[in-house]
Symmetry: C2
Subunit: 332 residues, 2 copies
C-alpha cells in the first residue's frame, strides 16, 4: 500500500484521497504523529467558489459555507470543486510533521481547503458574506505533505495571503517561459491577482514582450498604470481575441468558456497554461483538436517548489505589481 498523506482522515467514500473524499474527519485532536493543528484566523475562499456561492445563495452565503463545512468536514464547494486556503497559528505539531512550521508560527496553508480537515467554532459571525476573505475561528489539520508558509513580517497578512493563494501561477509561468527563447507571453486576465503576478514573472523569466488581456477599460487602465504589460488588449476572452499571437498564453480569468480563445491566441509549438478553476478539461482538449492546434495544454499545478518565496519576491521587487495587488485587495 502507498503512503497517502491524510488518508486516515477520509470518512468516505472508502479508499479515495482527501481531496476526492466527500467527507473528512475534522476532529481537532491530532490523529497521527505527522499531523499539525492550526487555530484558524481567516479563510480565503477560491474566487470561482466564492462567485458561485454568492450567485446561488446571495446573502445566505454564510449559512451555505457553514453547511458545507459541517457536512464535508472541509470547505470544498461541491459545485465548483474548489476550496481556497487559510491563515492561522500553529498550536501543536506531531514529532513526524514535515510541514516545516512550529507552534506559535503564524502561517498560511498553500494547499487547497478541499483537502484540509476543518472545524468552524464561531459560526462565521464576523463575516458579512461580501468578500472572499472570511474571518473565522476554528481548527484545521495539516497532514505530513501539506505545504504551508510562515507569514512574512514585512507584509500585511491579507496581502501575503492573497499572494500565496495564487503563487503557483507566477512560478509555473516562469518555468514555462524559461523553456522558450524570448517568447511573447499573453496573460488573459492580466490585471487580476494571478494574472498580474504571472505578467511580472514572465518578464523576469525572459519574455520579449508581455501582453495583458483585460475584459474592460477599467481593468485595462489598472494594468496600464502598473506597467506590467508591454501591450494591453481589451477583449471578452469567451470569444476569439483579435491580434494576439503568443508563444505562451496564461489563462487567469475565473469565468468559463475561455479555452478556445486561449488556444487561438497561441502559435503552433506554443503552450497554454490554464490556471482558472473554471477551465473545462474537455473544452480545452477537444478545442485544440478541433482547431488542429499543435499547442501544449498545461493544467496549472498550484505547486512548484519555492513558489511562495518567489511570489513574495516579485511583490517586494515590483512596485507597480504591489500597488495593483493592494488596491485590488482593498476593493474586494
Amino acid at each position: 500500500m502507498v503512503d497517502v498523506p491524510g488518508a486516515h482522515r477520509v470518512l468516505g467514500p472508502p479508499g479515495v484521497l482527501p481531496q476526492a473524499a466527500w467527507r473528512l474527519d475534522p476532529d481537532p485532536a491530532l490523529k497521527d504523529t505527522a499531523e499539525t493543528r492550526v487555530r484558524v484566523e481567516r479563510l480565503n475562499l477560491d474566487a470561482a467558489s466564492f462567485r458561485q456561492l454568492r450567485d446561488a445563495h446571495g446573502d445566505r452565503v454564510r449559512d451555505e459555507v457553514l453547511r458545507i463545512v459541517a457536512e464535508r468536514g472541509k470547505m470544498h464547494n461541491p459545485v465548483t470543486g474548489s476550496g481556497g486556503m487559510l491563515i492561522g497559528v500553529v498550536e501543536e505539531s506531531g514529532p513526524d510533521a514535515t510541514v516545516g512550521v512550529r507552534p506559535g508560527d503564524r502561517i498560511a496553508t498553500l494547499v487547497s481547503l478541499t483537502l484540509t480537515p476543518l472545524t468552524i467554532t464561531d459560526g462565521l459571525a464576523r463575516w458579512d458574506g461580501r468578500a472572499e476573505q472570511v474571518p473565522c475561528d476554528g481548527f484545521a489539520i495539516l497532514h505530513g505533505r501539506t505545504v504551508a508558509a510562515v507569514l512574512p513580517g514585512d507584509l500585511d497578512a491579507a496581502l501575503a495571503l492573497a499572494v500565496f493563494d495564487v503563487c503557483g501561477a507566477p512560478a509555473l509561468t516562469a518555468r514555462v517561459v524559461a523553456g522558450y527563447h524570448r517568447p511573447v507571453v499573453a496573460v488573459i486576465g492580466g490585471s487580476g491577482k494571478s494574472g498580474s503576478l504571472s505578467l511580472a514573472a514572465a518578464r523576469r523569466a525572459g519574455a520579449s514582450r508581455t501582453v495583458g488581456v483585460c475584459p474592460d477599460g477599467t481593468e485595462a487602465a489598472r494594468l496600464r498604470e502598473s506597467g506590467l504589460a508591454d501591450e494591453i488588449v481589451v477583449a471578452d476572452a469567451r470569444a476569439p481575441i483579435g491580434g494576439v499571437r503568443a508563444d505562451v498564453t496564461v489563462v487567469c480569468v475565473d469565468v468559463p468558456g475561455c479555452e478556445h480563445a486561449a488556444i487561438l491566441a497561441t502559435r503552433d509549438g506554443g503552450t497554454v497554461v490554464f490556471f482558472s478553476m473554471a477551465t473545462s478539461f474537455t473544452a480545452a482538449a477537444l478545442g485544440a483538436e478541433g482547431l488542429a492546434a499543435d499547442v501544449t495544454l498545461l493544467i496549472g499545478n498550484g505547486y512548484v517548489p519555492g513558489h511562495a518565496r518567489m511570489a513574495l519576491d516579485l511583490i517586494r521587487a515590483t512596485p507597480g505589481l504591489r500597488q495593483l495587488f493592494t488596491r485590488r485587495l482593498r476593493a474586494d
Copy 2:
C-alpha cells in the same frame, strides 16, 4: 476579427466557437468556399459519451442520440461534453478547402463530432444501440481547418477508425517520452485502445521500461499476451496504485476519479498526460497541489501533426498491438 474556422455555422450562443456552441447549422449545402460535405457512413461515439448515454438511457439510447443531433446540429453529448468521430465519403469540396481530401475519397474525420455540423437522415435504423460504432446515413460539414484522413487500403475501416479515434494519444505520448532520458512510462488503462497504442509509442520513443495498469485479471491477461508492457499491475486507478513510480504516466481510462492515483504514481519532475475525457481539471490541479507534487500535468491535446500516420504505422509494425486492438474491436 480573427478568422475562426466554422464560426459562420454557429447558431448560438453568439460569438462562440463551434465546439463551444450549443447549436450549429447542419445544412448539407456548402456555406462558404472552404467547406467540404461528407456523406456519412458511420459515427464512432466517444467512449465516455457512449457509456453515459447507455447508463442514462438504456435501450432508448438511439432516441437520445437522434434528439441531441436534432437539437444541437451536432453529436455533442451535453453531459460529458464529448462527441466522437465519423467516416464517410467526400461529396463536394469548396475551392478553398484545405482538408486535403477529394470527392470520392473515403475518409475519417480526426476532429471531434462536437464541432462538426451533422444531419442524420436514416433515423439510425441500423444501429442496435449496443456499441459505440453507429451505422448512419447523413451529411456532415468539414470546415477549413478540420483534420481528416483517407482510410488506408490495407486495413479494415472499423480498425482504422478505432485507431484514428485515439491517435492523438500515442503521438503526444511519444513526444513527452522523447523529452526524458530512458524514462519509466506507466499507462493507466494499458490494455485499452489509446492505452495499448500509447504503450507501443512509449517503447518506440525510448522508454526504458513500460508499465501497464489494468483494472482486472482479464485485462491484464490481454495486455500480457500483447507483449506491450514490461510490467503489468492490476489495480483500481481510482485509489492509489502500489509500487508504481514512473517518469511519465499516461491516463487512458474513461472513468472519473483517477487523477490523484496518476499523480501519486509519478516521480517529482515527471509528467502526467491525461487523455481520459472523464478527467476533472480541478481534481488534477488541486490534487497535485495538495500532494505537493512537482509534476507537469498535460491535457491530452488530440492533435499532433502526423498523428494518424504514426498510429497506423504502430498498428502495422506491432503484431501484438494489432491483435489486441482487433480483438477489442470485435468484443465491443
